[in-house]
């Protein structure tokens, strides 16, 4: 395998990390904490929205983020031919 392939793989991996961790930050620290007082003006069923993000929504988002990452990386492993043998 050539050096260039691995560099490309790592670069792509880092860009995935950047995007996913930005979402991680915005949803928990953003919606759940910094913007919570503003979002609390919005009511969703019996929840104030900021409160819901802090106690429910952020946790659901974390789960989804990990599975998106798994999906992206499994494809990336195949694309750059670095997938482990079965």
């Amino acid at each position: 395998m050539s050096e260039r392939d691995l560099k490309g793989y790592w670069k792509k991996n880092l860009s995935y990390l950047g995007i996913l961790l930005s979402i991680w930050f915005v949803v928990s620290y953003g919606f759940g904490i910094l913007l919570a007082p503003v979002l609390n003006e919005i009511q969703m069923a019996g929840f104030k929205l900021g409160f819901w993000f802090a106690q429910q929504g952020s946790i659901y988002t974390f789960v989804i983020l990990i599975f998106v990452y798994v999906y992206l990386m499994n494809n990336l492993d195949k694309e750059f031919n670095v997938r482990e043998d079965d």
Partner: protein
């Protein structure tokens, strides 16, 4: 059948299962003992990780804490789940590729230094012992509350069980018992939650009931009513809390980063066969954890509503039977400050310190004018007459909601499962730190696998004894030092591992300086406010308004800054170390 018989049956059956698994999954090699031979399937590992992670505190105390903290309780919910995103994206796959046995292994090899390895060992041991003492205490508490066994005997029984499967089976035994323990604890947590959610809101799913209207015919939303009750009595609204925003921010970050840096959690991802297994396994773990963590805030709100509706401005003599039962355990106390026989619940303390029940010469409980249990404590200023221990919110939930006796027995078995599974994982970290990172890697490098395995067992046995000792004689500041465990993990391991993976040029001088700086800074701050000068422990004295619980975040930033600055002065790491870093970045 009554609660006690049910508890004996359920606890007995679950303990028999754990012992059966221990005999079946005996470790034959050090690889079995340290990482279950790296043969664990991702799903199994996810479940085991969830049990490993969710401790007595998550199971018994967290919902209660949130009940009394309202919105502020979100720091635990986000903090103890968000770290898994960091684990999945930044740590687990690379450490799996590295493929050794322990965190000190990685630190020692990556920073080509036994000194760095030793610092990591010290951190791992401090963090794990801090944590494990609380678990053993939790085991003792469950025994004493549900089975009326002396708390010390409870700790001894717990020690015997953990001793059996941790010493015999190592990681292999622990993994499969943790799977069983997860099933027990999640079942025990969810059953009362379904019942209560249905009773209060007509919707059995607690996550939905949490946002539904009350089924008392008022048509009012549960949370709306809860906010109303709080403000009426002079408390801050349930959904807004009282902590400052920057403190909530820093505590959440310290808990998240600390979670991702806890050695007993990280090491679980060494047990799966492949890098891609490590990734998905974190995802499974978080699903299993999220089931409990999204239910806990719902239970917190239900329990708080039930409590406020039952007690406030009601006559003591009208209280349901559970009120009296829990008074006798010292977890609930009513002091009639104005002698009107009516319970007043208001902000502020009711009494100073924990309830100390009055007894006469024959050892019988002394009762007041209305039949309430009297306490020796001095009364606190202010109108509040009710002391409620946070743990009661989970422990007494089945009784408060009038659930069948077997549900209460189940809660006891679940609490024990949560405490034992976490204790075992921590004890394993301590034993491998001694047998592998100290003896094998430093003292006697030519030791045979068999002899190393024997040492691992001896170290595990020793760790069980020390943990038991702390369980029976808890240092007065146990609750306070949990903040240290997370702070230390965040300020020491996490940056060193991250830099080790993502910054190839980081050298040993930088990493060591960073770990020491982060460690000392965090320790000093926590000790200053929590142990040395607790009278100064308030926002006006904290740096930037950050409480000792949140200081690990600053410690981590300090670690990163010092690592980088010191790293610049010294030469790059050797070629083979840079190649090692390169190699862990790719699955193959």
């Amino acid at each position: 059948m009554d609660v006690q018989i049910w508890t004996y049956i359920l606890v007995g059956v679950t303990f028999a299962i754990y012992i059966g698994i221990a005999i079946w999954a005996k470790a034959a090699t050090t690889s079995d003992f340290y990482i279950a031979g790296a043969h664990v399937s991702p799903l199994t590992n996810g479940m085991a990780t969830a049990a490993d992670w969710m401790s007595a505190a998550s199971f018994l105390s967290m919902a209660g804490l949130i009940s009394f903290m309202g919105y502020d309780g979100s720091v635990y919910l986000m903090g103890w789940t968000g770290g898994y995103v960091l684990l999945a994206l930044l740590l687990a796959p690379y450490l799996r590729k590295f493929g050794k046995f322990t965190i000190p292994d990685f630190i020692g090899d990556r920073y080509y230094s036994n000194f760095a390895r030793t610092i990591a060992v010290i951190c791992a041991v401090i963090v794990s012992f801090t944590y494990v003492a609380g678990q053993m205490r939790g085991v003792g508490l469950v025994f004493s509350k549900f089975l009326e066994v002396n708390i010390d005997i409870g700790v001894l029984i717990g020690m015997a069980i953990v001793f059996f499967y941790a010493v015999l089976g190592g990681m292999k035994g622990i993994t499969y018992t943790q799977v069983a323990q997860y099933c027990v604890l999640i079942f025990a947590f969810m059953v009362p939650a379904f019942f209560i959610s249905f009773q209060l809101t007509g919707n059995p799913i607690p996550q939905l009931g949490f946002g539904s209207t009350l089924s008392d015919g008022s048509g009012q939303y549960l949370l709306e009513k809860l906010d109303e009750l709080h403000t009426e009595l002079g408390f801050a609204a349930y959904t807004s809390g009282t902590k400052s925003m920057q403190d909530v921010f820093f505590i959440t970050a310290a808990l998240m980063i600390g979670t991702a840096g806890l050695p007993h959690v990280i090491v679980r991802f060494f047990t799966v066969p492949k890098v891609r297994d490590a990734r998905i396994s974190v995802g499974y773990a978080l699903i299993f954890i999220a089931i409990l963590y999204t239910t806990a805030p719902a239970i917190a709100a239900f329990a708080k509503y039930n409590m406020m509706e039952t007690v406030n401005e009601e006559e003591y003599t009208e209280m349901p039977a559970w009120f009296g039962t829990w008074e006798e355990t010292g977890l609930l106390t009513w002091v009639d400050k104005n002698d009107d026989g009516i319970i007043t619940y208001a902000p502020g303390e009711a009494i100073s310190g924990l309830p100390d029940i009055q007894r006469n010469a024959e050892g019988e409980i002394v009762r007041g004018a209305f039949g309430e249990v009297k306490v020796n404590n001095t009364l606190a200023e202010g109108p509040n007459e009710l002391y409620v221990d946070r743990d009661i919110m989970v422990l007494a939930n089945p009784e408060i909601a009038n659930l069948p006796a077997w549900v209460a027995g189940l809660v006891a078995a679940g609490g024990l499962a949560a405490a034992l599974s976490t204790a075992a994982g921590l004890l394993l970290v301590i034993s491998t730190a001694v047998s592998h990172d100290l003896i094998k890697k430093q003292i006697k490098t030519d030791i045979s696998d068999k002899a190393e395995l024997l040492w691992a067992r001896i170290a595990a046995a020793g760790a069980v004894l020390v943990a038991g000792y702390f369980g029976i004689n808890p240092p007065g500041f146990v609750a306070e030092v949990v903040a240290i465990a997370f702070g230390l993990a965040a300020a020491s391991f996490f940056p060193a591992i991250i830099l080790g993976i993502f910054y190839k040029k980081m050298n040993r001088q930088g990493a060591i300086a960073g770990m020491i700086a982060g460690l000392l800074f965090t320790l000093a701050y926590v000790i200053f406010f929590k142990i040395a000068f607790p009278e100064y422990n308030s926002p006006e004295y904290w740096w930037f308004g950050i409480s000792p619980e949140g200081i690990g975040t600053l410690g981590m930033l300090l670690n990163l800054a010092v690592s980088y600055a010191v790293g610049m002065i010294f030469p790059e790491p050797p070629k083979e170390v840079q190649q090692l870093v390169e190699s862990i970045r790719y699955p193959q």
